[in-house]
């Protein structure tokens, strides 16, 4: 592939990403307009009663609420492009700062859980598929079916009850001990606080990837490729290692990257249960307290995050399976 082709490819991807973000912006803005939240009430909070109607109209005028929605959307979009996401009144900080800080903490939780669930799920699926019908396969499959049907928050509550309350092995909440400045929290303490949320989130992510990898492995083991390998004297383990690893990685990669969004959703619940101050908790706070700029900012950011994940999956697909050529429409 020459440089021109790669540039073209990247340009195409970026264009597509921009279009996706634009659509998300449009839809979320429309939803906010349609929602019963009055941004002025939300901004004023309890001081609502002390403000006269004249003052309210003044604010509305100043903020441009008297203009048609299309013009308002235009204003917002123009600010967005210049990098200004607005002011979050819940945290009393610019939205971009809130998202930046929160994301740093969430990425430790999300990334840890994601990596753990992808690797563990893929490994378990490979083993179960290669040893179909064995005791090990049955144990792994049963485990996967059970966790696949377990709600995230419920497992999280059970985990807190057992490990934090009863056994006292892990802290019950937060990203660090209460009453300590976040700069003073050591890495070890941070990790200690992460263990339980990460494990809970990973345990649930594992099931999906395990089951799909296992199915793909079973399919492969019955295929002409495997029969041919057996005819050459290969053992089941060898076929699993040489052929299975490649074939099963395709669904695993799709799932892992497609589940980024799901994981993000799961983290909202988990962060709520563990009171972990991440992006998920900020989403809930923004939703409950009508912080519109923050909510819109998070919606856009999540869309960006998931789109980038899917783009990576797309690219990896082309590398692993030569029949799928990246860049060809």
């Amino acid at each position: 592939m020459d440089v021109r082709l790669i540039t073209l490819l990247i340009a195409k991807r970026l264009l597509r990403l921009t279009l996706v973000l634009l659509c998300v912006a449009l839809v979320s803005f429309g939803l906010m307009m349609a929602s019963p939240i009055d941004p002025i009430d939300a901004y004023l909070g309890p001081q609502m009663a002390q403000v006269s109607p004249e003052q309210r109209t003044l604010i509305a005028q100043r903020w441009g609420f008297d203009e048609p929605p299309a013009v308002q959307f235009g204003h917002w979009l123009r600010q967005l492009v210049s990098g200004d996401l607005g002011w979050s009144h819940v945290y009393n900080q610019p939205v971009s700062e809130v998202i930046g800080q929160r994301f740093q903490r969430s990425i430790a939780l999300l990334g840890g859980a994601w990596l753990l669930s992808a690797l563990l799920g893929f490994g378990l699926g490979l083993v179960a598929g290669a040893k179909e019908g064995s005791a090990l396969d049955r144990v792994i499959s049963t485990y996967a079916y059970i966790t696949a049907s377990t709600p995230a928050f419920w497992l999280a509550i059970l985990a807190v009850l057992l490990f934090s309350v009863t056994l006292g092995w892990t802290p019950t909440c937060c990203a660090g001990p209460t009453g300590t400045l976040s700069q003073e929290v050591t890495l070890a303490t941070r990790l200690h606080h992460l263990i339980l949320p990460v494990t809970t989130l990973a345990l649930l992510g594992v099931a999906n990837i395990t089951l799909h990898t296992r199915t793909r492995m079973l399919e492969l083991m019955r295929s002409d490729v495997a029969t041919h390998a057996f005819a050459q004297g290969a053992s089941r383990m060898e076929v699993a290692w040489r052929h299975g690893l490649r074939h099963a990685s395709l669904p695993a990669i799709t799932l892992a990257f497609a589940s980024l969004g799901e994981l993000f959703g799961g983290s909202i619940l988990i962060e709520q249960v563990f009171a972990y101050p991440g992006l998920g908790q900020a989403t809930v706070a923004a939703g409950l307290r009508s912080d519109i700029p923050l909510l819109l900012g998070i919606a856009l950011f999540t869309a960006l995050f998931v789109s980038v994940g899917n783009t990576i999956a797309d690219t990896l697909y082309g590398i692993i399976d030569p029949r799928i050529k990246a860049g060809e429409p």
Partner: protein
């Protein structure tokens, strides 16, 4: 080299939810295969040709019921010995081109075949290249993926994988399906060469006409039964050297001969054949 002694194969199927029945796929099949010969096994679809190949290789599903005995170089060929000899002494050129892994480069797959035959990995790389060169697959084809090859090239890759193992008994399952005359002759000539090197080649095909020029012996199979085994020279003229009416009819039905389907029609169709038709 390989002797099959009254081999019968039954496979289970479910007649209804709970009732398991057995269908007989190969019945009392006895045949010697000798070194240095191409032995063609000819029959219609569903005659049990491929199953015969799998039975020899020991690749049948675990549920299969196999009776009779196999002898390889005068010693019984049981499960354990099959497992030991697969890929080293016994090689299979599979019928389907899907047998090539679509995600692995050709040269690598052939090197794996060499490794499975017991070559150490450095030598395997080298012998894979040699085997592919031998079948006129150039450097580009060696670095290609399966979907980038033509049918004839993929066939030759499969042959190279059997060749690289140095196996003494090679079973080629329908190696000429879907090939143009030039490619077909190339593949058949490659098989003949293997036999001339003193190996035993079992050529499974439904294409009697193209098997004859390279075959020494021909066995006609029908419905899992062995109809007749004759030397290739018996298929000549009006087929009067053939003893069985079915093989005679098969011979006469070829376009080059009488092209007379009447003779085959006069033969009673078995229920299984009627099913497939």
């Amino acid at each position: 080299m390989l002797t099959i002694d009254r081999l019968s194969l039954q496979l289970p199927f479910y007649a209804s939810w709970w009732r398991r029945d057995w269908t007989t796929c190969i019945e009392a099949f006895s045949l010697p295969f000798s070194a240095g010969e191409v032995h063609a096994v000819v029959g219609a679809s569903g005659a049990g040709k491929s199953l015969l190949a799998y039975a020899i290789m020991g690749l049948l599903p675990p549920a299969a019921r196999l009776t009779g005995q196999l002898f390889y170089q005068d010693q019984p060929l049981d499960d354990a010995r099959q497992r030991q000899l697969r890929g080293r002494e016994l090689a299979l050129i599979p019928q389907s081109l899907n047998a090539l892994d679509p995600l692995v480069r050709i040269h690598r797959q052939v090197a794996w075949a060499a490794q499975r035959a017991g070559h150490p990995s450095t030598i395997a790389q080298h012998s894979a290249r040699q085997a592919l060169d031998h079948y006129q697959l150039d450097a580009r084809a060696q670095q290609a993926f399966a979907h980038e090859l033509s049918g004839g090239m993929a066939r030759r890759v499969l042959t190279a994988m059997a060749h690289v193992s140095q196996a003494q008994l090679i079973i080629a399952d329908e190696p000429t399906v879907g090939l143009d005359p030039l490619q077909r002759n190339r593949v058949l000539a490659a098989l003949r060469t293997l036999a001339d090197q003193g190996k035993s080649v079992i050529l499974i095909t439904h294409d009697l006409r193209h098997a004859l020029p390279i075959a020494d012996q021909v066995t006609i199979m029908r419905d899992g039964k062995q109809v007749e085994t004759a030397s290739a020279s018996a298929f000549q003229g009006t087929g009067s050297a053939l003893t069985d009416a079915y093989s005679q009819a098969l011979w006469l039905a070829l376009p080059d001969n009488n092209f007379s389907p009447d003779v085959i029609r006069a033969q009673e169709q078995t229920p299984k054949e009627a099913n497939i038709a």
